[in-house]
């Protein structure tokens, strides 16, 4: 009998329709990630897309600083609350494991890297497509979710991410890293 394993996956990895305009890499569910989760026996939990309902489907790519407002944080907190409760509940199963799968480079769902551009105001005002840097750090939703888990006494789950939003992101490398994270530490 294997331990119950739960993967909490960023929304757009299961629904590319939620991606920022021009950035949908597949029709709907990311097939590589889906195959990996099934192969490794994970229960799939899909997290919400905070950006979609807040900034809409026609939003352009923004940096963390643009989303880092009190109103967006309240929005993320409302969405994160039941997700944290479900993680807490899932972890009550004996020997249960939880993994977060985010989107590195995202201002909202990054788990290791997020986007930063203190001067970036929006595509209409800039000659470049995206005047920003990728920096170490978490996206706003991920940060708030981890705070809520900590408040429930739950340690931060191990995490990995797709990197297709990163300047040099490579799907095969990302899936290999996600696979290793799903496998967990060698015991």
């Amino acid at each position: 009998m294997t331990s119950p394993r739960f993967a909490y996956v960023a929304h757009c990895l299961m629904n590319a329709n939620a991606k920022v305009d021009e950035w949908a890499p597949c029709a709907g569910v990311h097939p590589g990630l889906f195959g990996l989760l099934r192969e490794k026996g994970y229960t799939i939990r899909q997290m919400p897309c905070p950006e979609l309902a807040f900034a809409g489907l026609n939003r352009f790519w923004q940096v963390r600083q643009q989303y880092d407002t009190p109103a967006y944080r309240r929005h993320c907190a409302a969405l994160a609350e039941p997700v944290a409760e479900l993680i807490h509940l899932d972890l009550k199963e004996p020997d249960a494991e939880v993994v977060l799968i985010g989107v590195d480079g995202s201002p909202t769902m990054g788990v290791r890297f997020t986007s930063s551009g203190p001067d970036w105001g929006g595509r209409p005002d800039k000659p470049g497509d995206f005047d920003s840097d990728v920096v170490s750090g978490k996206g706003i939703f991920v940060e708030i979710l981890l705070e809520k888990l900590a408040a429930l006494g739950v340690a931060a789950p191990r995490a990995s991410a797709m990197t297709t939003d990163m300047p040099d992101g490579d799907e095969a490398t990302a899936l290999a890293d996600i696979g290793a994270t799903l496998d967990g530490p060698v015991r």
Binding site: H11, M14, N15, A16, N17, A18, K19, D21, E22, W23, A24, P25, C26, A27, G28, V29, P31, F34, R38, T43, I44, R45, Q46, P48, C49, L52, A53, G56, L57, N58, A78, L79, E81, P82, V83, E85, L86, L89
Partner: protein, 121 residues
Amino acid sequence: MKSNDRRSRRIALVADGVMNPTGNDPDLLAIVMERGWGIIGLPPERLGRPAIAQWMAGVADQVREFARHGMTVVAVLDGEETTVIGELEKACAQEPAQIVPVHVLSGGDGGDLAAFLDRRA
């Protein structure tokens, strides 16, 4: 959209049992995925009503945004998950109300689900 944007503009809300089949149940999520639908996974019934209600408020907001842009949204639900269904209905009934075509799972190999999705594609 750029020409390399590959979104399908079709989204299925799916019950936890679709996301996570057990035992010898057919993998219905594979049927949804192979047809190019994106999904919004619903929480399991055991999460309890208050948290499910909070979760569904967020789901309904996403549904409204997809529908506002002319995307197709359907729901594939487990008839035994009465709390999930009830809270989804309540959340979608909030203004602006959103009507979502529903397919209730009835066992079998998923052929009826495939037909339901194909009719709305």
